[in-house]
C-alpha cells in the first residue's frame, strides 16, 4: 500500500495543510469549514445541510481530491474508510437540544439523520459517485496501525484499488480535526 496525498484541517489553530503546503484561510472553528467550502468547492449547496462532522469530512476530502489528477469519480474500485473516537457526538448534542425541553419538544429530522458517524462516508461517496466500500470505525485511541490493518484487509476483496482514509474528529461545531489521505493498493 502507498499513500498518495495528505490533508490536515484543524479548528483550534485554523491550520489547513495540503500535501505539505499550508493554505491560509484566516478563520477558525465552524467559519473555517465554510470558508474552505466557499473558496475551494462552492458548487454543492448540500454542504450547508450537513452536520459538523460531515462538513469536516466533506471539505477535507474535497481539498484532497482537488489535487488528484485526474480526479477519480464514478467508479466501484474506490473505498471511503474513516475513523474517530467521538463518533457523531457533535450532531448527537445538537439533536439532544431539539428534544431536551418537554415544553419545546420539536425533534428535527434534518439533525436526526446525521446522528450516525458513517453518514460522512456516504456524503463523500455520493459527491464523487463512488460505489465501492464505505465504512466508519470508532476507536478509543488514535490507533492508525489497527486502522491501516483494516484498510489492507479491504484491498483483498478483488475490487478495491484505492481508498480515501483517515481520521475525522469532531467534538462540537467549533472543535474538530481531520487528517485524510489516499491509499493505493
Amino acid at each position: 500500500m502507498k499513500k498518495t496525498g495528505h490533508v490536515l484541517v484543524a479548528s483550534a489553530s485554523g491550520t489547513v495543510m495540503l500535501n505539505g503546503k499550508t493554505l491560509e484561510f484566516g478563520s477558525r472553528g465552524s467559519a473555517l469549514l465554510v470558508d474552505i467550502y466557499r473558496r475551494c468547492v462552492g458548487d454543492y449547496p448540500k454542504f450547508f445541510k450537513m452536520d459538523p462532522l460531515s462538513r469536516l469530512g466533506f471539505v477535507a476530502s474535497e481539498l484532497l481530491l482537488g489535487e488528484e489528477k485526474p480526479r477519480k469519480q464514478d467508479c466501484e474500485d474506490r473505498a471511503v474508510v474513516l475513523f474517530n473516537r467521538s463518533a457523531s457526538l457533535a450532531d448527537d448534542l445538537l439533536y439532544q437540544e431539539t428534544i431536551q425541553d418537554p415544553g419545546n419538544y420539536y425533534p428535527s429530522p434534518a439533525v436526526f439523520v446525521y446522528t450516525l458517524p458513517n453518514i460522512v462516508t456516504g456524503e463523500i461517496a455520493i459527491r464523487n459517485k463512488y460505489y465501492g466500500e464505505t465504512a466508519f470505525y470508532v476507536f478509543e485511541d488514535n490507533d492508525e496501525e489497527a486502522f491501516m490493518a483494516i484498510v489492507e484487509q479491504l484491498f483483498q476483496d478483488g475490487t478495491t484499488t484505492s481508498a480515501i482514509c483517515g481520521r475525522v474528529e469532531c467534538e462540537d461545531a467549533e472543535t474538530f480535526e481531520a487528517e485524510l489521505f489516499i491509499v493505493e493498493k
Binding site: 449547496p45 450547508f48 445541510k49 420539536y106 428535527s108 429530522p109 434534518a110 439523520v113
Partner: protein, 85 residues
Amino acid sequence: MEELILELKTKILEALKLQDMAPEDIDADAPLFKDGLGLDSIDALELMLLLEKNYGIKLKSPAEGKEIFKSVRTMAEYVSANRIK
C-alpha cells in the same frame, strides 16, 4: 398575505439551512420540490415541523403536505386559514 409569504420564505431558508439564498431568490409561486428549490423528503418533514413550531399547525402525515407544500404561496394560504398561533 405578502407579509406572511416573506415571513415564510425567511423561516424556510433558516429551517432548511439554505444559507446561500435570500428571500427574494424564492419565487412564491415556484414548486418547492423537484424543479423549484429542489427540496427532498427530509426537507418536507422539516417544513411540517416549521408549521407546528411557528403556527401551531400539526399535519397528520407527509402526504397531507403534498398540496400545502406546492409553493410558498400555497403554504401561506394554508397557514393563514389554519394557524392557531
